[in-house]
């Protein structure tokens, strides 16, 4: 399943993000994704592969939260936005135009990360020593 490969990409990005906080280790509670409906990603499948992949890693327990983004097109003739429907061959209901411009629905984006630093001394920055 391609969700496994997508999870691998996501973990690589998360590892890079973690390095920005070194030497402290952020405790991540939630990772927020935006996933467009005009992509080949099954959100449930992605959440499932994430749960398996983060077990026993620094992200263990972090929840993947997916915000679905609906497909929105813009009619090239009258500029109105609409919800393209496969049953209607994605055409605009106003002017019967094909789906030319996509306003949203192609997103595959890591939006944000919720985290904290624990007070455990090992995680804290070393205190500045007086000169």
């Amino acid at each position: 399943m391609h969700e496994v490969d997508m999870t691998r990409c996501l973990l690589l990005s998360m590892n890079e993000w973690k390095q920005q906080h070194e030497p402290r280790i952020p405790r991540v509670s939630q990772v927020h994704l935006q996933v467009g409906s005009f992509t080949c990603v099954e959100p449930d499948q992605l959440v499932f592969t994430w749960r398996v992949a983060v077990q026993n890693t620094w992200l263990d327990g972090a929840e993947l939260v997916i915000e679905p983004v609906p497909l929105v097109g813009r009619c090239v003739r009258c500029n109105a936005t609409y919800s393209p429907d496969p049953e209607q061959a994605y055409r605009s209901p106003c002017c019967q135009q094909p789906m030319e411009e996509i306003v949203s629905g192609r997103e595959l984006r890591i939006r944000s990360v919720d985290y904290a630093f624990s007070d455990h001394p090992a995680d804290a920055l070393p205190a500045a020593t007086p000169a």
Binding site: L12, W17, Y90, P98, D114, S118
Partner: protein
Amino acid sequence: MHMPLEDTLGLNLLAANQHQAEHNREHFDAWRLLCLNVMSSPGAGKTSLLERSLAALAGAYAMAVLEGDMTTQLDAERLEAVGVPVVPITTGRSCHLDAAMVSGGLKLLRQRLDPAELDLLWVENVGNLVCPAEFEVGEHRKVALLSVTEGDDKPLKYPVMFREAHCVLITKIDLLPYLPVQLERIEAHIRQVNPHCAVIPVSATSGEGLEAWHQWLKAQVAAIAPAAPAALVSA
């Protein structure tokens, strides 16, 4: 306890693949070759088409094939028979090629030849209509194949690949007289999700449409190949 924190990333989920794809493309550009990513569902006739196109274009271009479809050794031999090197890509049973796999294929290719001598590199993707379109490999153009035997509603059922393609080849048109499908409907459905791509009906059996397809290819090679002083000519 510290305050909870939030970092806004706004990062592409596939950023890791994207970076590798850009790296591949930098190589392709340095070698001044055109890279095609050829995608279709299984059995749409990628190998038969490639066989015809490689034979027809071998006189004009230096070419190589990165073979990502889980085809038999026989398929590779069919293609090599026209004198074009074929390098198999290890996909690890993945349902698509990604940029790292193509990078691995390029390493093998470089053991056999100098890619700077190539004009055209074909990447034959895994037979799958769903996800190859989401994983860039560094290609300059995406080509999707759709066989007339697949019915006329495929572009509406699996729209992402047809949306992303620069060129859609409708294959096996020699079978049209025996099928309850109309070429016009297939083409119209592709246009519904991708109004401006090239749509070329072809048959690797009868040869119909191949000339138009090769003309399209030549135009793409010409568009990227020469770093001539074109800036003075083009308005």
